[in-house]
Amino acid sequence: MSAQHPHPESRPRRRAAGAAALAAVALALTACSGASDAPVGEPGTPSEPVELRMTVWTADEAQLALFDEIADEYVAANPDLVSGVTFETIPFEDYTTKLTTQLAGGNAPDLAWVFESNAPEFVSSGALVDLRPKLAETEGYALDDIVPSSLGLWEDGDGLFAYPFSNSPFAMFVNTDQITKAGQPDPAELVASGDWTFDAARDIAKATAESSGKQGLVVRDFDYQTWENLATVWAGWQATPWSEDGTQCTFTEPAMVDAMTWFHDAVFEDGALPAPGTTADFFAGDAAMTITQISRASSLDGSFDWDVVPMPTGPAGAQNVIGQAGIGVFAAGEHPDVAADFLAHFTAPENAEKLAAYFPPPRQSLLNAETLAAANPNLDAEQLQAVVVDGVEGAVTKPAHKNFAKLSETVRAELDALWVEDADVEAVLADTCSVITPLLED
């Protein structure tokens, strides 16, 4: 890493005074902290036990309680090393922004969850330490049990910079009450007969919305802002925003034009999806169907009958999409060695099995309906097999890029022109490509 530090002699947590000058000039002002990109090794016993901190975006009490339980075991087994582990919740919406603000403030957490979209950025920046040596040498860790394709996003050369603890497939949740009432076919039957296509889903959504007076199909967390969540729809057309190596814009490819045209028309002509500026929460009963991750099943409270089915097929066939999340150890944290040791414990096979209750693990030995059923009482074995086990197979992740932050914002601004009734889909996508091409080449 070619980092130059204003204070090369000072290691982590050199903090300078910072405060707002004019209210507008409100940058958090701090000097930067040093980091090393050497792989972490065996933690030397610190002079006194250290406190570890991991930032997460879940605020779910059951999940946090499970993390605490796993951490308590580690603390009990390593009293000389660690006095405690804190799991700090940062809300989902601003997660990465707040995390990087902590880094800017010289207050890096020891470990952090990282979104897949940001993976290339975090991995290539040198912010995270290489975990492979640690995980490979940890007894009983079984690194080779991890599905190799799940690691792709988190590797750089031979280094492995985060562990993909969550591999949650996208699936279609269905409000069967509303669909039956509207006299529409049951999606599960369409899956069985091979007729479960995006067009069928659109038609059901349209008819159900007309009958219920509520919304049809909601692509959850999209809201005409977080466009990368549309990847779950594009996948049916095998459309991607940029080439696999991230250098070419592919918004103008025929597959993407077709996918976006389909989506635009489903919104503005059919009214099958909520229009911009309309909020609808499937789990509150506001919509007939929603595309979201399987881990959201915990939000269902039994107030209506529901089902979960695999994603519909598109003109290009079936393509599974998973949402991944990794856990990395920050080089700028105070105790990267201890943190990596804790990570090896946190994600070891026996704990991965416990975490499978909420986060489908990347381990071959655990990716089966029995293990997942024990952990997911809301879903039956058949649903788990169809949606989770088969869903991880050959799955693609949402778009990611080492320049993702800028791309995300720029594409959002360009696509705004698409979310009006009389939009010229091809022209908007061509504009998008011309604007993002320099960012892709950056």
Binding site: Q4, A24, V25, L27, T97, A104, G126, A275, P276
Partner: protein, 296 residues
């Protein structure tokens, strides 16, 4: 004499000791951060990659060629112009109306002032619901037979919406300032003009306006400076969109720093913002002699 000079010396020390807290506070929390922002603006600082490299004036050169920054400046100009004109004229109108001695004026004053004390983000979130395509405002328009636009999804209406939400939030404060000024206008001057046959408009233009001109100066300075600082409303209502139509300067700065991790470049933008605010304030201060009554 030795004792006298010791006393002077003691006075001197006591004086400095008394101002020390505020001087130290200002140095630590105003001057130092300002200096550091300038220092950072001369660096390329990527938090994630942990790079902090001196690049001299490169960030400033980059600003000159940055089309996004030009758009942000333009958006800021629209926002500030709209806000200042609407806010000050509405505040003055309300103040004049509520300066009458009529039953119920206190209730109305409280009504118009109350948004000032409401949390900014809570206020804005409520408005974001009202401004939705199927929100309260369009529901009301539909009830009277009109079809409202999707306010926050069209470039023009989004900017208008952001301005109006901010005007309603802050007009009460300016109204109170104007009310205080209006109540300081001597009654006898008004009466004298009335006896001379001056009409209401003439009295307002020739007596009231000149006498409240110092308040107009104050209100315009704080409103313009405040308008350049708008952030939360944009973040909650539009996120800078649609397109980049509501990405004002501060929002652009925030994106560069906290979304794109370009703290050096963002610092350079912060310096630009500082200079803009400084120049605007100085211009108004310099021009006061021409139109502010007490300065004549």
């Amino acid at each position: 004499m030795a004792t006298a000079s010791a006393a002077v010396r003691r006075d001197w020390l006591v004086g400095y000791a008394m101002v020390a807290p505020v001087v130290l506070g200002a140095l630590a929390f105003v001057v130092l951060p300002l200096g550091m922002v300038v220092w950072y603006s001369l660096h390329e600082w990527n938090v994630l990659a942990n790079t902090f490299t001196f690049v001299g004036g490169e960030n400033y050169q980059r600003m000159a060629a940055d089309a996004g920054l030009a758009d942000a400046l333009l958006a800021s100009l629209w926002f500030s112009a709209g806000l200042v004109v609407l806010n000050i004229s509405l505040a003055l109108l309300l103040a004049v109306l509520l300066n009458q001695k009529l039953p119920g004026t206190t209730t109305f004053r409280t009504f118009f002032f109350s948004p000032v004390v409401v949390s900014l983000v809570a206020w804005t979130i409520v408005w974001s619901f009202l401004l939705q395509a199927d929100g309260g405002i369009n529901g009301f328009l539909e009830a009277v037979g009109l079809q409202g636009p999707n306010w926050l999804r069209h470039e023009t209406t989004a900017m208008v919406a952001v301005i109006v939400v901010q005007v309603f939030k802050s007009v009460g404060l300016n109204m109170i300032l104007f009310l205080a000024a209006l109540q300081g206008v001597p009654e006898e001057l008004q009466e004298a003009a009335l006896l001379d046959g001056a009409g209401a408009w003439r009295r307002f233009r020739s007596i009231t306006l000149p006498l409240i001109s110092p308040t107009i100066l104050l209100v315009s300075i704080i409103t313009i400076v405040g308008s350049l600082e708008v952030f939360a409303q944009i973040d909650v209502l539009t996120g800078g969109g649609p397109g980049n139509s509501t990405t004002v300067l501060v929002y652009y700065l925030y994106q560069q720093a906290f979304r794109f991790n370009e703290f050096g470049y963002a610092s350079a933008i912060a310096v630009l913002l500082f200079v803009i605010v400084l120049v605007l304030t100085l211009l108004q201060w310099q021009s006061r002699k021409r139109w502010v009554f007490h300065e004549v």
